[in-house]
């Protein structure tokens, strides 16, 4: 099967650089799948899970905290505001963050606090989902 290069970058570090068979991106309009030699594409990502298939057939996941992705020259570059590979995710911390965010959402805070808590909840859920075995 044809392969494409996947790069996941954040401002702080180079999270991943590997050859893959396919990538499923969680975009603002739902999930899109990218295969090798996809035409040049720029897409907005929301907070969610990125899935990719390794060349050995294994499926892997990463949690993405929003950003955008660029496909060009058979290379998919993901610019994320935060990103963690499944094995890097601290599940206990994500659970704690989820609990805290849910509690804050119940407390009917001011609008900006509400937005903040909702973002925190989405991120926690994405992390937990990515870390699932």
């Amino acid at each position: 099967m044809a392969e494409l290069q996947l790069e996941i970058l954040t401002a702080e570090r180079h999270v991943l650089s590997t050859k893959v068979e396919y990538v499923n991106l969680s975009t603002v309009n739902g999930t899109i799948g990218i295969l090798a030699n996809h035409i040049p594409l720029l897409t907005a990502l929301n907070i969610g899970v990125l899935e990719y298939g390794e060349l050995n057939g294994k499926k892997r996941r990463a949690a993405i905290g929003g950003g955008f992705a660029e496909m060009n020259n058979n290379k998919l570059t993901v610019f994320a505001s935060s990103a963690e590979l499944a094995e890097e995710i601290d599940v206990l911390r994500a659970r704690e963050a989820k609990r805290r965010a849910e509690q804050q959402l119940r407390e009917h805070k001011a609008e900006w606090e509400y937005t903040r808590a909702r973002v925190a909840l989405e991120k926690a859920l994405a992390r937990l989902k990515a870390a699932e075995k």
């Binding site: 970058l9 954040t10 401002a11 702080e12 570090r13 180079h14 975009t27 603002v28 309009n29 899109i32 035409i39 040049p40 594409l41 720029l42 897409t43 907005a44 990502l45 929003g66 950003g67 955008f68 660029e70 060009n72 020259n73 570059t77 610019f79 505001s81 935060s82």
Partner: protein, 288 residues
């Protein structure tokens, strides 16, 4: 006479103690500088690539005459805001003085300029001179993280989208090398037309999913946070370089002072010995 000998000794000891401290501080600054330098260099490719992608998306949006998201629109640029990056700590040579002088120049150019201040030294300066600021961010710490830049960027976007300011410039010290740092002023809002960085090849036609506007709306906040993160990293590397140089100068000065004091101590000792000998000789002659 005996007193002055002890005085000199005491002074030498005190200068030596100071020298030990400045030497230690120089070493600490050098270690921190190395770390900060690595961080700056790690962050640069991301920044360049991001700018290139943003540049091509903006160009595409303009070619096709799309309605831009509010954050990307041109403004009249009548109410500028300066974001000044200073250090939290003192003892960093002329680092803060230089940046604050450049800030004053900006205020002279733009009389109605607002300011957002990063770093304790800057905030103290504005407080002392009774200058108002829109927001302040202090205690950034030794290892800045992206989340901090994100917070600053959030606040800037709030002011900008609520039409309190309509232009944003960053003022920070860019790190060139441990001996050279350059004051840099960079406009980040309105985004305007970005030049595609040299050597970067962008695809001529992209598909924008779901639309150019949506892609820009998610790119620009990321671009702002990244640029601010970058400015923080550059500024902190420059701060350590400046601190290292200041401490090296202090150690060198201390070494010079110790040498001078040693010389005058030796002179003093010689004088005491000469006096003693001439007294003994004088006494022996009187007896003889």
């Amino acid at each position: 006479m005996g007193n002055s000998g002890r005085d000199i000794k005491r002074r030498i000891q005190s200068v030596k103690n100071t020298q030990q401290i400045t030497k230690a501080m120089e070493m600490i600054a050098a270690t921190k500088l190395r770390k900060a330098q690595i961080n700056v260099e790690k962050a640069r490719p991301y920044q360049t690539h991001l700018e290139a992608s943003l540049a091509s998306a903006l160009a595409a949006a303009m070619n096709e005459e799309h309605e831009l998201p509010t954050i990307a629109k041109e403004t009249k640029q009548e109410r500028p805001c300066l974001v000044v990056f200073t250090s939290d700590r003192g003892l960093v040579g002329a680092f803060n003085a230089n940046i604050l002088k450049a800030a004053e120049e900006y205020f002279a150019e733009h009389e109605n300029a607002q300011v957002i201040v990063i770093g304790r030294q800057g905030r103290d300066y504005f407080n002392k001179h009774n200058l108002a600021y829109l927001a302040d961010f202090v205690y950034i710490g030794d290892s800045p993280v992206f989340a901090q830049a994100n917070d600053i960027s959030q606040v800037i976007q709030d002011f900008y989208l609520n039409d309190i300011i309509d232009r944003v410039d960053l003022l920070y010290t860019a790190f060139v090398s441990p001996i050279t740092q350059r004051l840099t002023r960079q406009q980040i809002l309105p985004v305007g037309e970005l030049a595609v960085p040299e050597g970067h090849q962008a695809a001529p036609f992209y598909i924008y999913e779901p639309s150019v506007e949506e892609v820009l709306a998610s790119m620009i906040p990321l671009y702002l946070s990244t640029t601010i993160y970058h400015a923080i990293l550059e500024s902190s590397a420059s701060e350590y370089a400046s601190s290292m140089n200041a401490m090296r100068n202090a150690s060198d000065n201390a070494a010079e002072l110790i040498e001078e004091l040693n010389l005058s101590f030796n002179r003093y000792r010689q004088r005491v010995i000469t006096t003693e000998i001439s007294e003994i000789v004088g006494g022996a002659e009187a007896l003889g």
